[in-house]
């Protein structure tokens, strides 16, 4: 059994996504976290479009909002969210109209999570699929241990971003902090700005036409294709020198 592609499908194209004009409004001042999540998790693929669109108000930094959704819902959260918003998401398009706390989109499998503000640490941690789009900056360890997700950050990414990244792509329009891509496996990193320093086994690699095309396609999915020139990015990946232990490499850690 092949469990590599456990993400069900590629992320939605933001430009083609047409949410319903009708959005059911859920006010977290009067609805509990449990009630919200239970309702969202209870909806399945056959949910009618008009019943699959939600606007969540007064999140006030609540944790674990909209986690574990298993249907192509459209969830807009009007405000800042706490830890783990959209955790383990499948299929859904979740838009956070504010900042996101640590671990936004952690372990997401598919769908799209769009943070209109900044994201705290560990955005997209261990995520297997889908697209995580962050309009602002992402803090430390963005894409830590990523396993197939695509992450596009329109600002800067903090230190140790891409740490132990296994597969998937991490894109930053701005700068990257210290120790980018430390102990990287096969995740691919594209940064347009400057990189403070590389982590163990992370190196710059040539940006060839196929990579420009890959990056363009990814940015197109994110609705950003024509806003930046893909040639301005640099590509980073694993030198693969630490894949098998050797005593003479211990100084690399």
């Amino acid at each position: 059994m092949n469990q590599v592609n456990i993400a069900e499908r590629s992320p939605r194209d933001l430009r083609e996504f047409r949410p319903s004009n009708f959005k059911r409004e859920i006010d977290l001042l009067t609805t509990s976290l449990r009630e919200l999540n239970e309702m969202l998790q209870g909806l399945r693929n056959d949910t009618a479009r008009d019943e699959a669109s939600f606007r969540v108000t007064n999140p006030d930094g609540a944790h674990a909002l909209a986690v574990g959704i298993d249907a192509p819902l459209d969830v807009e959260i009007a405000g800042h969210v706490g830890y783990y918003c959209g955790g383990m998401n499948k299929w859904a398009r979740i838009v956070i109209d504010g900042n996101a706390g640590p671990g936004v989109g952690e372990n997401m499998m598919s769908g799209l999570i769009h943070v209109r503000g900044d994201a705290s640490q560990c955005a997209g941690a261990t995520a297997h699929g889908g697209l995580l789009l962050i309009d602002g900056n992402a803090s430390a360890r963005c894409g830590i241990s990523m396993k197939g997700v695509d992450i596009v950050v329109k600002g800067d990414i903090g230190h140790l971003s891409g740490f132990m990244g296994q597969t998937g792509r991490l894109v930053a329009f701005g700068d990257a902090g210290e120790a980018l891509g430390d102990s990287l496996y096969e995740a691919r990193i594209y940064v347009r700005g400057k990189v403070e320093s590389f982590g163990a086994d992370c190196i710059e690699k040539e940006l060839r036409d196929e990579h420009r095309a890959e990056l363009f396609a990814l940015l197109r999915q994110a609705g950003e294709a024509h806003r930046v020139d893909v040639s301005e990015f640099r590509r980073y990946g694993s030198a693969r020198k630490l894949y098998n232990f050797h005593i003479d490499n211990t100084g690399a850690y």
Binding site: M1, N2, Q3, V4, I6, L33, R34, N37, E38, Q41, H63, A64, V67, G68, D70, G82, Y83, Y84, G87, M88, K90, P102, G103, E106, N107, M109, Q121, C122, A125, T126, H128, R141, I144, S145, K147, G148, F163, M164, Q166, T167, Y185, E186, Y243, N244, F245, H246, I247, D248
Partner: protein, 442 residues
């Protein structure tokens, strides 16, 4: 015969107690290979253990129960603190987390079968949940590890409980290790890694640090699973009093406490032998922590690390644990280190009973390997039956002791039933030294 021998008689060569043959061999091996020793299993050195305790049994002041007639309940409920669907096990002996990857698919299936037959749970490991394992396990605990290999919401919801792994007894503070020889195509796919690489898992969780974050992580896991599943928290025995207190504070339903005798699939020998404390030294502190918080028997305590017999089970429960977990013993029950493969063990430079190079993937018994020729040697049905037999025997042994102490439930065993044989064990367990009323340190 030289002149000195004539004068004084034979003078045998004197080995150094400090530089003994193992220390010398290790220095020579390090110099020759340029790599530290990696092996499986738990500590091999002698440490204070359950053997250092004895039951007093019934006599004039207590009366025993009839061994074969009067009931002695063995069931245990785990996870009733917050979970809507706590787990009820027929016996207080669970199977510890061991990964597909470290173990063959057949071995994982056998663990599920054996545990099911005995009415207890089995646990996944650092490699995700396989369909064989889920299919054959009546009650399956899904480990939530730093690596999150294969972690996904569907498997999470298929689990009967979730065990957040902070650490394990063989290597508190260390991450997983699975060397290239065992990263087969299927293992690599389940872990989203290239084949053949040395996979060194993270030692910390990627998206939380400390007990305050963990509280939110537990909230997320409960929200993901509708507050149905018990949340276990597994820690390596090191600072049990405070670690257990923090686990309770973070919202765990069950604490799993693993001593340094607990096995690992592969870790540096120096880590196994020098980090962490024996389970005997950890239980009373953990129980005290629960008691101080008013959570003893409300948050269940599962202890592991060197559990072999029903006596060990009974002693752990008498010290205040709610259940135990077995790993190494379960593998032996399946057929690990079977003397019938002695010739092959010798070819690997070891002998049956000592084989611990589980990371090399050449296990003659077909358990700690991904080699299809070797794995085919293990019949999951037969091995599962052997495990069930073993689990039932040690439960019966524990009942035998409990009845002798006059207990109609295994969980009615208590510290008062025990004494210590050594001063060290007495101090660690806060039990009186046998024949005295002296508890060192109190």
């Amino acid at each position: 015969m030289d002149a000195m021998e004539k004068a004084w008689g034979y003078i045998p060569p004197r080995p150094s107690a400090t530089f003994d043959k193992h220390a010398i061999a290790e220095i020579r091996r390090a110099a020759a290979t340029g790599i530290y020793d990696i092996r499986g299993g738990g500590t091999k050195r002698k440490v204070p253990h359950f053997d250092d305790l004895l039951f007093l049994g019934a006599s004039m002041s207590r009366y025993p129960l009839e061994g074969y007639r009067e009931r002695c309940d063995t069931s245990v409920v785990l996870g009733a603190r917050f979970a809507k669907k706590p787990i009820e096990l027929a016996i207080p002996v669970t199977i510890a987390g061991m990964s597909f990857g470290a173990l063959s698919a057949q071995a994982k299936e056998a663990l599920g079968r054996g545990a099911g037959l005995a009415g207890t749970s089995t646990t996944t490991g650092d490699g995700g949940m396989t369909p064989e394992e889920r299919g054959q396990s009546r009650t399956l605990v899904y480990q939530y590890l730093p690596s999150r290999y294969g972690m996904n919401p569907d498997d999470l919801r298929k689990a009967d409980a979730i065990e957040i792994v902070v650490g394990q007894g063989a290597k508190p503070g260390g991450g997983g290790m699975l060397l290239g020889q065992k990263i087969s195509d299927r293992v690599a796919q389940m872990r989203s890694l290239p084949m053949g690489i040395d996979q060194r898992s993270a030692c910390r969780h990627p998206d939380w640090t400390g007990a305050d974050d963990l509280e939110i992580k537990i909230l997320e896991l409960r929200e993901l699973t509708g507050w149905e599943k018990p949340i276990y928290l597994k820690i390596g025995a090191s600072r049990p009093y405070y670690d257990v207190a923090l686990a309770v504070k973070a919202g765990a339903d069950v604490v799993v406490l693993d001593g340094m005798q607990g096995g690992t699939a592969a870790t540096q020998d120096v880590f196994i032998e020098h980090v962490g404390i024996p389970i005997l030294a950890a239980i009373r502190s953990a129980v005290q922590s629960l008691q101080d918080l008013g959570q003893h028997r409300k948050v269940q305590l599962i202890v592991s690390g060197g559990i072999r017999s029903g006596a060990d089970v009974a002693k752990a429960l008498a010290l205040g644990a709610d259940a135990v977990a077995v790993g190494t013993a379960a593998l032996i029950a399946l057929g690990d280190n079977d003397p019938k493969y002695e010739t092959e063990y010798q070819a690997l430079g070891t002998t049956a009973g000592c084989y611990d190079d589980w990371h090399e993937g050449r296990d003659p018994a077909g358990i700690t390997t991904q080699d299809p020729v070797l794995t085919a040697r293990l019949d999951p049905v037969l091995a599962g039956r052997r495990l069930a037999n073993y689990l039932k025997v040690i439960t019966l042994e524990a009942q035998t002791i409990a009845r002798a102490c006059g207990k109609s439930r295994l969980h009615n065993l208590e510290p008062e039933d025990l004494v210590a044989l050594t001063v060290e064990a007495a101090a660690m367990t806060r039990l009186p030294l046998a024949g005295t009323s002296w508890i060192p340190g109190l």
